[in-house]
Subunit: 180 residues, 2 copies
Amino acid sequence: MLTPRIENFVLHCGEMGSRWGFNRTIGQMVGLLVINEQPLTANDIADALKISRGNVSMGIKELQSWQLVRVHHIPGDRKEYYAPNGSIWDLANKVFEERRKREIDPTLSLLRDQILAEANTEQEKYAQKQMQQIHDLLETVTKWSAELQRLSPEQLQSLMKLGAQVSKVIDLKDKLLRKN
Amino acid sequence: MLTPRIENFVLHCGEMGSRWGFNRTIGQMVGLLVINEQPLTANDIADALKISRGNVSMGIKELQSWQLVRVHHIPGDRKEYYAPNGSIWDLANKVFEERRKREIDPTLSLLRDQILAEANTEQEKYAQKQMQQIHDLLETVTKWSAELQRLSPEQLQSLMKLGAQVSKVIDLKDKLLRKN
DNA sequence: AGTGTCTTTCAGTAATTATTGAAAGTTTAA
DNA sequence: TTAAACTTTCAATAATTACTGAAAGACACT
């Protein structure tokens, strides 16, 4: 069914998937969908990964909650065909975005509450200081991720290629701002 | 032992920890260490989190493999005292770095092999195209993360505060490069 | 209304992962 | 060398998470 090489890739996606917020099987599903040009049916997936039809159904549901797959229909065919919901970049973005919503946002909200509360003991005062640090870090991450979403593909590419020049640009920017 | 508020924070760290590469208990350990100004002994941790002494030992070992804790000694005292290994920012960095090593690097290596191999079928050709995309994305991420490590704290702060101005700076850089 | 084709659900079970606690290991000091 | 104070290890077990397959649901066609 799968060539050894493609199977190799899919298995690897499984291992990685479990570190990115879904389980091994779901990681494999993503891998499988991504390297197949044609959309696959639930049965294709079950056969390729040797898992039950029910498991595929649950996996697809999960992937839809992450907005990572989309459904195709072929006229005269009742089956659903699944394909990745966008380019590799789009998918990576969706995962980030979704994790931000599920992890960072609730954490920020908890931290804000804690920071606003009155610190009674020395221990709590120090705790608040640390929480403030975490809060600031997460807020920065959030802002940046929003910013990345907003950039045009061209700007993004420009930014991505910046690489080793980041520091030069920063220095440049600092100089310019000082002049203003 | 823990004030309700601090316990709340620690529990939350547990939930988050399980999404960041360690398990719930280890997440709680990090939370606990981070909000305590004084280093804690293994027994302090076991008591605070209501887990066994052995579990603390394993957790510490894991955290050391991530370089997230450091050991203190008090003269005349044989116990080991544990504290976070650096500021919040340092810790976040360590986690990123470690995950890069464990997840991204092996993936890049697999992808490179696959991309160099000869594609026999159409299916494999498409698969390679997609793998190339993933490869490029991961390589960019890797380069950027290396770059961030290299920046001075001042430059970093500058970059972090950039936020909504990213696009302006990119445009600026594009203009300048064109002139050169 | 009935049948065929497909999808979803979920109780039961399998697989995996985390935890305990007793035993073994380490280090210091007398 | 023995003991005391600590840490680490790991086999047994508990807790959690994932998977199966049979049943129910949905839908289109006749």
